[in-house]
């Protein structure tokens, strides 16, 4: 390829890259919107995305949100799955705090919890990667690795016919991420930050998935509590588009999520 043609191509690339949408695009119809698909690994944001948005408004002290190792002796598979999800969110908090040791601790907990439901083999390598990235302060890589680890655990759950546990991992991660965010926003209320807590569609999705669980899982006392808690949270965070939650509502979200985290992980599970 000649230099001239390379430069022409380069110019076209740049032009194409910055050109705004010029084609006339009609709004989506109600049928198109209701027919849109949802894929958990794409449609549900990671705690990292949530925290990145908070960082644009405030610069919280993420290290204050760290929790000590919380692996319990519980043999309840739903509880282990929920707890595992909360630890994934803890990993993102530790990354925001740029606390390498805490990231390693959380990575170890994730592996230990995964062992409790028999899905550890394939994620041992992930645990090593998390440790290596933490050692080298590769925070951006850690965010991707944490999500990849979560997805690998879920994939293993699917392969061993534990699909119902996948939803519980997502629920645990969302509750812990929302708890952390509500603590941060409560401490320094700003309407722009409070608007980030408005996530009714995510809660709807998670509640729908919990509704679809087999009866033996749905009848678990902890799962029932979580489902009730999510419905309560749905009522709190479903404001009109563009309308932030009030300071009082953010505080209610903090209380509700803290209560759920205590049920999932035990009463010593919350940061001071």
């Amino acid at each position: 390829m000649s230099l001239e043609s390379r430069l022409t191509r380069f110019t076209l690339f740049v032009f194409a890259a910055v050109a705004p949408v010029v084609a006339e695009e009609l709004p989506l119809t109600p049928e198109q919107m209701s027919g849109a698909i949802q894929i958990e690994s794409v449609s549900i944001p990671t705690p990292g995305e949530f925290f990145a948005a908070i960082n644009k408004i405030d610069r919280p002290n993420w290290s204050q949100l760290a929790r000590n190792s919380l692996v319990t002796n519980s043999t309840s598979r739903p509880q282990i799955a929920l707890n595992l999800g909360t630890r994934v969110a803890d990993g993102f908090i530790a990354v925001e705090a740029q606390d390498g040791q805490q990231v390693k601790n959380v990575g170890k907990d994730i592996i230990d919890l995964a062992k409790g439901i028999g899905v550890s083999q394939s994620i041992l390598a992930r645990g090593n990667s998390i440790s290596d990235f933490a050692e080298n302060n590769e925070w951006n890589s850690l965010k991707e690795e944490l999500e990849a680890t979560e997805n690998e655990v879920k994939l293993q759950m699917a392969e061993q016919k534990d699909d119902e546990l996948i939803t519980l991992v997502s629920v645990g991660a969302w509750i812990r991420g929302t708890q952390a965010a509500s603590i941060v926003i409560s401490a320094n209320y700003q309407p722009e930050a409070a608007q980030l807590l408005r996530q009714p569609d995510i809660v709807d999705y998670l509640v729908e998935r919990l509704d679809a669980l087999p009866e033996r899982i749905k009848s678990d006392e902890l799962v029932k509590s979580v489902q009730t808690g999510l419905n309560t949270l749905r009522g709190l965070i479903a404001t009109e588009p563009g309308t932030p939650l009030t300071k009082e509502t953010v505080e209610e979200v903090r209380r509700e999520t803290t209560s759920l985290i205590e049920k999932i992980c035990g009463p010593a599970a919350n940061p001071a």
């Binding site: 390829m1 050109a19 705004p20 709004p27 198109q32 990145a52 408004i57 999500e147 588009p241």
Partner: protein, 161 residues
């Protein structure tokens, strides 16, 4: 800021394209014109690789690539749509790649009312990216439209910062 990302992307893709033109392509993973449209088993890996390659250009500018991806098919009559949840303050690029490689697709992003949101676009053959900075947090829709061809498989990934 967007322009910087776009320029970076352009540079990376230009460099990649130049290298590809000079060196022998990797036939095992590269999308080929012999791929059978609609053959999901054949098309998923090359489509995902191409979408990730496109998203990878943004990671040099601080974007984090989501691990999840959406593999689907578009036809001249059907433009599939996926729901995503975005946060105000973050910047997003939705990157899609179609197989076969002569397909042309477009990616458009809408807010929860179904209205088109302001977006930057990038097109390179069978690959397309749309960049948005959401005005409001919440549900958004991403539509993949086939603009050339009768049917095409595609893979979509996204990155954020």
């Amino acid at each position: 800021m967007k322009f910087r990302s776009a320029l970076l992307l352009a540079t990376v893709v230009f460099t990649t394209a130049s290298i590809d033109a000079q060196d022998a392509p990797a036939p095992a993973e590269a999308p080929t014109t012999s791929s059978v449209p609609g053959d999901a088993a054949t098309n998923e890996a090359p489509a995902r690789n191409a979408a990730l390659e496109l998203a990878g250009a943004f990671s040099n500018d601080g974007y984090k690539i989501r691990d999840g991806y959406w593999f689907s098919s578009a036809t001249s009559d059907t433009a599939p749509i996926i729901e995503v949840n975005l946060f105000t303050g973050n910047e997003y690029w939705f990157c899609a790649a179609a197989v076969p490689s002569e397909s042309r697709i477009a990616v458009t992003v809408y807010n929860e009312l179904g209205e088109l949101v302001d977006q930057q676009t990038y097109a390179d053959g069978a690959r397309f990216a749309a960049g948005v900075e959401p005005a409001a947090s919440g549900k958004h829709f991403v539509k993949v439209t086939l603009v050339e061809g009768a049917k095409s498989d595609f893979c979509l990934v996204y990155c954020y910062k």
